[in-house]
Symmetry: C2
Subunit: 345 residues, 2 copies
């Protein structure tokens, strides 16, 4: 009878490990790289560049790669709107996209806790395979370890992409007068996970999703995008504060314009939380030249994952981030010291 739960022996590196890798991972994620089971995946520069819009001859002079890493430690592993597998691939794909890169290759490091149901692991790996296929990123190397624990799991994903973007993108590229756009309502991922952890019943779904369609549409049109950031841990407040510090400028935001779903707003009101400090897993902020704001919003609103995109303010030459509140006041939006909830991403 096949094993139904993860045991420490699955991490020993011997036959039990090999069988787990074959039955759970290779069968779902296998490709020409993974099947070789070497110490490292080897691919040619030609493979890396396949599908790029520019010619190979530009490569030596102009081309850049992007490399990013993230670990995912969320509990619970499954939640309304997604699971840790969808989160891990989306998170790393999105980090590459934010630097203007086309996601190409991915590695995954699995840390499994003893007692994890193998059926749950299979669902999570299925979910990873699905998002990888959607976004065109290929898993080329993986590693599995088993530790004592309570039946949970953690995943590290590291992504390599090829930068394919006309203008330099970066947190230091915002300029006074630029428009600040967000791609949709904020706070849903963290509100969903908090609800799950506290046993609160509501209809809030995590927004976890890969953002390749809206981001590539913006960039491939050649719109004057200066900076892209996904609004994850720390929320919009943290992301925007980091951004204006890097660009040596400030921002003025219109609180009434910042989109938050009604049910998430209600949960925040009850718990005394601020959606501007809360994590999202499928939303980003785009800093674009003001004259291109309408075109960028029209582009974003074509995709379900960025429907509801809206301008929430402008970059200013004054330092700090000022929030014009709904009752006509002004307050500084600072970086939260901590957001109060572990294991949300």
């Amino acid at each position: 009878m096949p094993d139904t739960v993860i045991q420490l022996s699955h991490g020993g590196g011997g036959g039990a490990t090999a069988q787990l890798i074959q039955s759970v991972f290779t069968s779902r994620l296998g490709n020409r790289y993974l099947r070789r089971q070497e110490d490292a995946a080897v691919f040619s520069i030609t493979d890396l560049w396949s599908g790029m819009s520019h010619s190979k001859s530009d490569l030596l002079q102009h081309e850049h790669l992007a490399l990013t890493t993230d670990s995912f430690v969320i509990s619970p592993l499954f939640f309304p709107g997604g699971d840790i597998g969808r989160l891990a691939i989306s998170g790393t794909v999105n980090d590459l996209l934010m630097m203007g890169a086309r996601p190409r290759y991915l590695t995954a490091g699995f840390i499994l806790e003893e007692g994890l149901l193998i059926a749950d692991l299979e669902r999570i790996v299925d979910s990873m395979a699905q998002v990888a296929a959607q976004t065109g990123i290929e898993l080329v190397a993986a590693d599995t370890k088993v530790v004592e624990g309570k039946g949970g799991m953690m995943i590290n994903t590291t992504g390599l992409g090829v930068v394919d973007c006309q203008n330099p993108l970066g947190a230091d590229q915002a300029r006074p007068g630029d428009a600040i756009l967000v791609s949709g309502p904020l706070g849903d991922h963290q509100a969903c996970i908090m609800s799950q952890r506290m046993g609160v019943h509501n209809a809030i779904l995590s927004d976890v999703t890969p953002l390749h369609r809206p981001v590539r549409a913006l960039l491939d049109q050649g719109l004057p995008v200066h900076c892209l950031r996904d609004i994850t841990r720390g929320g919009l407040a943290t992301v925007l504060n980091e951004l204006v510090q890097s660009s040596d400028c400030g921002a003025e935001l219109d609180e009434a314009a910042i989109p938050v779903h009604h049910e998430t707003q209600a949960l925040c009101a009850v718990l005394g939380l601020d959606p501007l400090n809360m994590a999202n897993e499928g939303k980003f902020v785009a800093i674009v030249a003001q004259e291109a704001a309408t075109a960028a919003l029209n582009s974003l609103n074509q995709f379900p994952e960025s429907a509801g995109a809206i301008q929430i303010g402008q970059i200013t030459s004054d330092k700090g981030i000022v929030l014009r509140t709904q009752i006509g006041g002004r307050r500084l939006l600072t970086t939260p010291w901590y957001e109060g909830l572990p294991r949300i991403c």
Copy 2:
């Protein structure tokens, strides 16, 4: 007063996370990539290729990259001969080297358990910085998460390298008649960790070390090396079985020639363990054309980390791995089902 232990708030993504990253990580590991704190590190192909022995014009036609990932979950975090930080960088550097690649860029994903002493974390990061500097690999992206736990930590390292090797290296490149070399005595890492976990007092040191000097010396001389594998989880038995299966051949080994330190042998005898199934973190097997075996051994024996390198057998056309025992018998060396000890790497 500064914090002395890791708290969940250090993982929130807000100010506490930023302060930890600055005081512990950026100050020790910081470089032009990490300091930008973008969603992904961006580097040019020219940067990636700097220091390579071949010309840029060869790049498009011939060049390959290697990408590898590994998670490290060892307990205890500090052990005779090293710590989890030294292990993490060495392990990933070694995986790249085994594919003939020069290690270039590295990412690190830290998962810290609540209660970890910040002073211990600092020692571990110092250790990572030291091995990175020794081996010339540059940490370009990192991530930190905090989870509930018992004050431990886990590290994922993912490495990118440029293949710089005249002949194709791979587990499928072994040929009947090739010499099988090991770079030194086997089993020390696992014997050391077992001793620590069981409270046994002895002088066994982990062999954890980066192998860039002996491996690059072999390859840069242009010796006919067919396959390199580091002998980690699962031990020599697992590594050699995988290798002969990939190459569709077998092996014959001389048990008397396989080097094992006396004290490790004694521990194994007491516990009924086989050093051939045990993990190492600074040893590798090299499959080389038999006529080059002496030159390869002479090269390896010039470096302290591969002093004691020796030929232990030959690749055969018959399948399976036959061990000629010290008392004149012959037994099949199979893959162990599991090695019986978690958290050794």
